[in-house]
Amino acid sequence: MLPLFLLLSISFLSFKGMGREVLIPKINSSHKEKIAGKIHPIAKPLYNIKIDYNWNKQLLRCKVNVKADSSFIKESSLWFELPANGLKSPRTLFASANKLGKENFTGFQFDKISVNGKTPDARYSVLFKGFNADSTLLRINTPGNTGVPLNVSFEYSLLVPRGDFIFGVSEKNDFSVLRGFYPVLLSPNSKILNLPPNGVVDFPPADFSVTVKIPENIKVLNPEFSRSSSGVLSSKMKNRKETILFFSGKSEEIIKDSLSLKDFEVNIFCESSSENYIPRIKRAVLNASKFLEENIGLSLNGNIMIVDLPRSLRLNNFYSSGVAAFHINLFSPVWTKHPEADVIKGLIFRLSDGDFLTDFARSPWLFYGVGEYLTNEIFADSYGKLSQSFKLLSYLPIKGETMFAYNEIPIIYRLNSFEYEPWKELLPEYLSTENKTGFSDIDNVLFSRKDFDFVSTVKPALVLQTLKNFYGADSVNSILSGFFKLTCKMGIMNKAVFDSSVINSLGENGSSIWRALSNSSGNIDYAIAGLTKLYGGVYSLRLSRIGEIALPEKVSVYTDKDTLNFLWDGKSRIKEIVFSSNNKVIGAEIDPQNRNILDVNRADNSYLIEGNYSTAFAYAIHWFFWVQNALMMFGVFG
C-alpha cells in the first residue's frame, strides 16, 4: 500500500536539476543499417484492466495489471504516464495551458501499487521546471528485476471529471469518454517534450483486456465489448496505442451504423441530429479507402469507431487507436471540409496503429504532417476545392470573408469567396510563423503550441506538397507507400525509415532537396533583383536568394517571340547572368510553374521590364469601393 500523500511528498524531492529529459537514448543508427531487417521483435505490454464504474457518482474503481518484459526497465526503473493527473491541480503543466474549473479536477487515488507481488519504491517525477506539482510521470524503482518478466499491479479510484479536457462526462451526465484513465507504461525509447498541455510522449503498442462493471441501462459503445451472463462487459483489443471507451446513458438512442470493407470494419455512432451525415461519412470512408489502395497501395484492415461527440461534451476532436471522435456541426456543407476530413484523418491515423514501435515524441510530423498531407490529397481528389467562409450565428457557414466582426456579427464582410485547394489552409500559419525551423530534429525547437503545430503539421505537409510539385504525385505516393511498408518490415515508424523511402523513390538528388526542406530552418524567398538592357541585345539578369534555404530553381526569360529556360542551383545570394537575345526581352521569372509553394513572396519571383500598373490599380479600386461602403455604413449615425 502506498498512500497518495506519500507519493506526493516524495515527488518534491526528485525534481531538482531535471529539465527536459530523454529517458532512453535515441535510436541513432543510420537508416542504411536499419533497412537491413527488423530491429527487434516488439515486446508488447499486456494490460488487464478491470473497471467498476459507479455511474451516479462518476467514480471509477480500477484494478490494472500490466505484464511486460524487463526491456521496459530503464536505469532500474519503470516509467508510467498518468495522463489524468494533468487535471490534478491548478499548478500542473496541463493547467498552465488550460483554464480548469473545479468540475475539471481529478487524479489517481492509489490504494496499491505492486511489482511482482512486492510494494516498490514509487515516486512522481517532475521533469519540467516550474511545474513542481505535476504528477503525470510515475517512476517505479525495480532493482533486481532485470531479465525477469514484470507484473505490475495498480488499484486506484478516479473521479470522472466534466468532459472539457482529456476525458470526462457530459454536462448532462449521460455520455462519457474514458481516456488516459489508467497508468500507461512508457516505451523503452520514449522521450518526453516539455510541451503543454501535458507533454508529448510515445506509447508502445499494447494488447488490452478490459472488463467493465456498469449499470445495465448504461451502454458501452465500443463494438468489441460483449456482456456476460453476470452483466459484466468485457473485450480484448490488440495492437493499440491506448484504449478509449465510450459510454452512453442517453434516453435517446444513439444512431449506430456500420460499413464493412474487405478487411476493415467501420462503426459509426451519431447523435440523432447528425443522422443525415451518415451517408457522407460512409462515402468519405470509401473515397479514402479507394485513394489509399489505388495511390499508396495500402488497404485498411482492422476496425475503426467513428463517434459524433455530443456538444455538451466539450472535448477537442481526437483521432487515435482506432477511434475518430469529433463534433459534427449542425450545418456543414462539403466545401467546409467537415466531417469528411475528420473521417479521412481518423482512417489515416489508423495506419499508425500496428505491430511496430513509433517515434511520436521525436518525429510527430510522421503522424500529423503525413496525416495532414494525405487528408488534403484525398479530400481534393474526392471533393475538389474548399471555399473561404465565415460562421454566422455560430452555426451557419457563409461563403465569404469577414474583415470586421463583433461577437459572431459580421460588420464588414464580403460575400465573394476564394476557392482554394485544401492544403492552402495551412498557408496563413506557415506565413505567420516567424521561426520557420526544420522539423527533422525537434530537440532544437523552442516549444510553444504554435511551434509544435508548425513543426509537426504545417511545414511537413507543405514540404510534401512541394515535393509533389517537383517530382509529381506518383513520386510522393511512392515515398509514402514505401514508408508504411518499411515501417511494418522494420518494426518501427521513425524518420530514418521515411528517409530511406525518400532515397528509394527520389534518388540522391531528390533526397538532397528533401533534406534541405526538412532539416533547414529559415525562409525560402527568391527574387529577381533586376533585368536591364545593357546595350544592343545584351541584357543583365540579377537573381537573388533572400531566404536562408537554398533550392535549385528553374528560371525562364520571356521574349516577344520565345522563352529561354535554364536551371539555377539557387545557392548564391546574388547571381548575375548576362545574356544576349535578338528578340525583345519582356521579363524573367524564377520558378514559373510555382512549384515551390514555400516561397514566402511569389510576387518578387518575376520581373517585367515594362511595368504593369493596371492590376494594382484594379485591386486598389476594389479596396476603394470597400472603404466607400464602410464609410456609408458608419455614416448612418450622421
Binding site: S170, E171, K172, E271, S273, P310, R311, S312, L330, Q388, L393, S394, Y395, Y406, N407, E408, I409, F418, E419, Y420, K424, L427, P428, L431, Y558, E589, I597, V600, N601, R602, A603, D604, N605, S606, Y607, L608, G611, N612, Y613, S614, T615, A616, F617, A618, Y619, A620, I621, W623, F624, F625, V627, Q628, A630, L631, M632, F634, G635, V636, F637, G638
Partner: protein
C-alpha cells in the same frame, strides 16, 4: 398616404439631387485618401511582377495571403486612419444631413446657401442626437451579448444544436429590430428638432418618442419600403457586376462606374429617407381643423 409621401419624397430628391453629389464627393475624397496607401502597397508588390498579368484574369488565394502577410503592418496601421476618418466623416455627414433637412423643411429655399445655413443651424443639435443614438446602439450590442450568454448558459447542458441555433437567430432578429428602431428614433428626433425649431435635447427626444408612439406603423412601413429600394439597388448591382468580366483590365472602368452609381444611388436613398420623414412628420403633426357643416334648407317660396 404612404404612396403620396413616397411620390413627394422622390420628387424632392430628384429636384435637389445636387446635394446627393455633395455627399458623394466627400465620401469619394475620404475613401481616396484611405486607399492611396493600399494602392502604393499593391503597386510595389505587383507593378513589375508577372504575377500581375495572371491576377488580371483570375484571383489567387496564395498571393492574397502572402500580400496580407507582407504588408500586415501597413494594413494594421490603416485601422487607426480608418477610425479617425470615420469620426470625421460622421461629423461631416451630420452637417450635410442637417443641411438637407433644412432644405426639405422649406422646399422653396433650396439654394446651396440655404443648405449650408441649415447645416450650421442644426449641426450641434443633430450631433447630440447622433451621440445619443450611438450610445443606444452600444447598449443594443451589450444587450445582444447578454442574451448570448443567457442562451449559452441555457444550452450548455443540451445536445440540441438546432434549438440553440433558433434562439441565436431570434437574438439576431431582436438586435436588427433594435437597430432599426434606434435609427428611426434618431431620424425623427432630428426631423422633430428642425421642424419644431426645438434645440433642447430632452424635449426633442420626448417629441420624437411621442410621435413614433402615435404613428409607429406608418413610419416603420415607410422606413422599410425605402430600405427595400436600397436592397433592390444592391441586388441589381450584384447581378450586373457578375456579368462583367475581369479581363481585359479596361473592364474595371465599367465596374468602377457601376460601383460609383451604386454609391450615388445609396446617397439618393439616404436623401429619400430624410425627404419622406420630414414630409411625413409635418403632415402627421399638422393641426387638423375640424369643420362642422350642416345642410341648410333652401328656402323658396312666395312672399
Amino acid at each position: 398616404m404612404i404612396k403620396k409621401e413616397m411620390i413627394l419624397g422622390i420628387r424632392s430628391v430628384v429636384y435637389n439631387f445636387k446635394f446627393a453629389l455633395l455627399f458623394f464627393t466627400v465620401n469619394f475624397l475620404i475613401a481616396a485618401i484611405l486607399s492611396i496607401g493600399v494602392w502604393a502597397d499593391l503597386n510595389s508588390n505587383l507593378s513589375h511582377s508577372i504575377l500581375s498579368l495572371k491576377l488580371a484574369s483570375a484571383s489567387d488565394f496564395s498571393w492574397y495571403l502572402q500580400f496580407r502577410h507582407l504588408f500586415a503592418t501597413e494594413l494594421d496601421n490603416l485601422t487607426y486612419s480608418l477610425i479617425v476618418s470615420i469620426i470625421l466623416y460622421v461629423m461631416l455627414q451630420t452637417f450635410f444631413t442637417a443641411g438637407i433637412t433644412a432644405v426639405f423643411k422649406e422646399p422653396k429655399k433650396n439654394h446651396i446657401i440655404d443648405f449650408f445655413y441649415g447645416g450650421v443651424k442644426y449641426w450641434t443639435r443633430f450631433l447630440k442626437i447622433s451621440l445619443v443614438a450611438f450610445f443606444l446602439v452600444a447598449l443594443a450590442f451589450i444587450l445582444n451579448d447578454a442574451l448570448g450568454w443567457l442562451i449559452s448558459w441555457a444550452f450548455s447542458s443540451s445536445d440540441n444544436a438546432l434549438w440553440d441555433f433558433v434562439f441565436r437567430s431570434l437574438r439576431y432578429i431582436i438586435l436588427i429590430s433594435l437597430l432599426i428602431t434606434i435609427t428611426l428614433f434618431a431620424d425623427y428626433a432630428k426631423v422633430s428638432s428642425a421642424v419644431d425649431e426645438e434645440s433642447n435635447l430632452p424635449i426633442t427626444i420626448k417629441n420624437a418618442a411621442h410621435f413614433l408612439h402615435d404613428n409607429f406603423l406608418i413610419t416603420i412601413t415607410t422606413f422599410m419600403i425605402i430600405a427595400l429600394f436600397g436592397v433592390i439597388g444592391a441586388v441589381v448591382y450584384n447581378i450586373i457586376g457578375n456579368y462583367i468580366t475581369k479581363s481585359p483590365w479596361e473592364y474595371i472602368i465599367i465596374t468602377f462606374t457601376l460601383q460609383q452609381m451604386l454609391i450615388i444611388f445609396r446617397f439618393g436613398i439616404k436623401m429619400l429617407f430624410v425627404a419622406v420623414e420630414v414630409s411625413l412628420y409635418k403632415d402627421l403633426i399638422a393641426d387638423v381643423v375640424k369643420v362642422k357643416t350642416e345642410e341648410q334648407p333652401i328656402i323658396t317660396g312666395e312672399t
